[in-house]
């Protein structure tokens, strides 16, 4: 049977599919990775994020000072809100070197920006992690159980989606009290519907498929079906939504911090650093510029990576 099919294919002048595919494929994950690395967006994103991760991990080594150390009495001739001073670029040697300058509390701005990467990465991953956890659970249940449960859960998600995200987050934080954790919680709540919808859509797309019926016939429990057979199908869209979600979460938490609802001083968080210095924009613009650029590059990195992964996994674009 098999040999006759192969012969038929040869007769038609078509390549014999099976052995060729087996030689080319390097397994699901390696193929995926190769596809992602073929996307220019994803590569640029990965480079930016790799840089960010290294900065966060080695912050102690990179930063010349602790992030909240006031330098009065520590260094000779240090002034508050002084512009960047780099000795290599002709800054007079008697002035202490601060490559990003100092802030209005006489702290080293470069150290604060470096340590801020830890806060932003933690914020991004923790916020999206919580949102994905709750969102996928809601989406799984809604899609799998269906009917009345599905209706109620998805209408609840609709209500969350009606609010402009930042405004709902503001309302939630004002009810819970201003702190970084509450800001993250608020942004996570606001993001839940995205993941619930993604998850529900993938559940619905496979719910009636034969392989699920087969699993059920083999005695797989409902929980087993949900987590071993259905959930893996949704990994791809969840990774894409999650990566883009981190970009959004970093932006929104920084915005809440800027409004005074998130990170509280003296924590070195980019949004609250900008808020603290926004009144001195015209005299010390570097204190807005450096944390601002750090924020843009972080969000840009996650956005590029998310777009890149999506393009890499979209079969229509692979050809």
């Amino acid at each position: 049977m098999t040999s006759s099919t192969v012969r038929a294919n040869e007769a038609l002048g078509e390549p014999i599919a099976a052995p060729v595919a087996a030689r080319r494929s390097g397994g699901l994950w390696r193929d995926t990775l190769r596809n992602i690395l073929r996307q220019r967006n994803a590569v640029v994103g990965l480079i930016l994020l790799g840089f960010l991760f290294l900065t966060a991990i080695f912050a102690d080594v990179i930063a010349p000072f602790p992030p909240d150390q006031v330098l009065i009495g520590v260094e000779q001739g240090v002034k508050k809100s002084s512009p960047p001073c780099i000795h290599l670029l002709g800054c007079p040697a008697e002035q202490p070197q601060h490559i990003f300058g100092t802030d209005s509390n006489v702290r080293d701005e470069f150290s604060r920006v470096v340590y801020g990467s830890r806060v932003s990465l933690f914020v991004g991953f923790a916020t999206v992690g919580v949102a994905i956890l709750i969102g996928t659970l809601i989406g799984l249940v809604a899609g799998y159980v269906g009917g009345w449960t599905d209706n109620v859960l998805m209408r609840l998600m609709d209500i969350l989606l009606v609010f402009p995200a930042l405004l709902l987050a503001i309302a939630i934080v004002t009810a819970l009290g201003a702190s970084l954790i509450n800001a993250q919680l608020a942004i996570a709540i606001v993001a839940i519907p995205i993941y619930a919808r993604v998850m529900r859509a993938s559940v619905l797309s496979v719910r009636e498929s034969d392989y699920l019926t087969a699993s059920r016939a083999l005695g797989e429990s409902s929980v087993g079906l949900l987590f071993r057979r259905i959930l893996p199908n949704a990994t791809t869209p969840l990774i894409v939504a999650g990566t883009l979600g981190i970009a959004g979460a970093v932006l929104d938490v920084a915005a809440l911090s800027f409004l005074g609802l998130g990170a509280q001083p003296p924590l070195a968080e980019w949004g609250s650093m900008i808020a603290l210095e926004s009144g001195r924009l015209f005299t010390a613009p570097h204190l807005i510029f450096f944390p601002g650029i750090a924020l843009v590059l972080t969000v840009f990195g996650f956005n590029l990576l998310g777009d890149g992964i999506r393009d890499a996994l979209d079969p229509r674009l692979n050809r």
């Binding site: 967006n41 209408r155 609840l156 609709d158 209500i159 969350l160 009606v162 609010f163 402009p164 995200a165 930042l166 405004l167 709902l168 503001i170 309302a171 939630i172 004002t174 009810a175 819970l176 009290g177 201003a178 970009a247 932006l251 920084a254 915005a255 800027f258 409004l259 005074g260 609802l261 949004g271 900008i274 808020a275 926004s278 924009l281 015209f282 613009p285 807005i288 510029f289 601002g292 924020l295 843009v296 969000v299 840009f300 956005n303 590029l304 777009d307």
Partner: protein
């Protein structure tokens, strides 16, 4: 058509109810929080109990919710703790500014986004396209407050003294005054809703100046709107550009476009008459969805540019812990956003006959 519109309106009602329930719940999450906010941190338990009783906060939650619904229905959104003004009054004072800002921002984003998207799709893979796509990627990654502060620095400090300098704060140059339309038109005797409406319009400064033909004031008010509108409109601009580009590229790949080319139509006419009408629907949807991010972004933009709109009222409310203002505004904006989405959906039905039938 009528059935579709009716059904769409009916589907809005449970969501509206949910919004009210959620905002009600948020304003009651912390028991005693209102008491401490009004009486101070050191209020005793007995004082708080008396306060709760006086405010009706010790009644069963469903009764309180019914009471809340009744108040909202009659336009009572509570009172600002800080200024003792009813939140509704504050809202009516502040809303015109935000409408003006959102209008210019959306105008900038729509015109700019559609044009850039068309050029980008038309000249696919050209230098213009690559720059546009990269720009759109960066545009969605810039926090509003960072962009706002940087542009304020560039246009108000670096370009100071050049013709390109733009004001970074306020709605009018100090010294320039704008007269309410009622005064300008000698209608000061007018009372009730017509007067309220006229005052509302008067507070949209550029519209006021246009209607009363005060061109110098219009120019001044408009110049004050440019930076905030660009800042608020950048993220929607980037998103609209992307959607227009990808939607038009999808359409331009279809067979009937090749047919149109084969008939001998110019490229320009193919895009304008055959490509665009079919590519524009997703763009309309996305423009409607941008209103939400505009209203959220208005909080940051108005704070940075010192514009006395609803968004700035929210950030002032946050700073002063005047949370009844914040929650009242969030409620109104969410309801407004819901209604705008309803309008977008209905306009979608007019543009696309297929929608009506589903």
């Amino acid at each position: 058509m009528a059935t579709y519109i009716l059904r769409r309106i009916l589907l809005t009602i449970p969501v509206l109810f949910g919004i009210l329930l959620l905002v009600f719940f948020l304003s009651r999450v912390l028991p005693g929080s209102q008491c401490y906010a009004l009486l101070g941190e050191h209020a005793t338990q007995a004082q708080c109990a008396a306060f709760d009783h006086a405010q009706g906060l010790d009644r069963p939650i469903p009764v309180q919710f019914a009471d809340y619904l009744g108040k909202v229905a009659t336009g009572d959104l509570g009172t600002s703790i800080r200024t003792s003004t009813p939140v509704t009054t504050l809202l009516i004072q502040r809303l015109p500014m935000t409408i003006e800002l959102a209008f210019y921002a959306l105008f900038f984003a729509t015109i700019g986004g559609v044009i850039l998207g068309i050029i980008s799709a038309y000249r696919r893979n050209s230098a213009v396209d690559v720059v546009t796509v990269a720009g759109a990627n960066i545009g969605v990654s810039i926090p509003i407050f960072v962009l706002g502060l940087l542009l304020a620095y560039v246009f108000a400090v670096m370009l100071k003294g050049t013709p390109f300098a733009l004001p970074p704060s306020g709605r009018l140059t100090p010294g320039v005054d704008i007269v309410p339309l009622a005064v300008r038109w000698g209608l000061t005797d007018l009372q009730g809703p017509p007067r309220a409406f006229l005052d509302f319009i008067s507070n949209i400064y550029t519209l006021n100046a246009l209607l009363s033909a005060q061109w110098a004031i219009f120019a001044d008010a408009f110049r004050h709107m440019i930076l905030p509108a660009i800042v608020l409109g950048t993220i929607p601009l980037a998103i609209i550009t992307r959607i227009t580009r990808s939607s038009l590229l999808d359409v331009l790949g279809l067979d009937y476009i090749r047919t149109a080319h084969a008939k001998g139509l110019t490229d320009r006419n193919v895009v304008r008459k055959h490509g665009l009408p079919n590519a524009i629907l997703p763009v309309v949807t996305i423009i409607g969805l941008q209103l939400g991010s505009l209203l959220g972004g208005a909080v940051l933009t108005e704070t940075i540019f010192n514009l006395a709109g609803v968004g700035r009222a929210v950030s002032e409310g946050i700073a002063a812990r005047d949370y009844s203002v914040v929650q009242g505004f969030v409620l109104v904006i969410a309801i407004g956003y819901l209604l705008l989405n309803l309008i977008v959906d209905i306009s979608y039905a007019f543009l696309d006959p297929r929608v009506r039938l589903t």
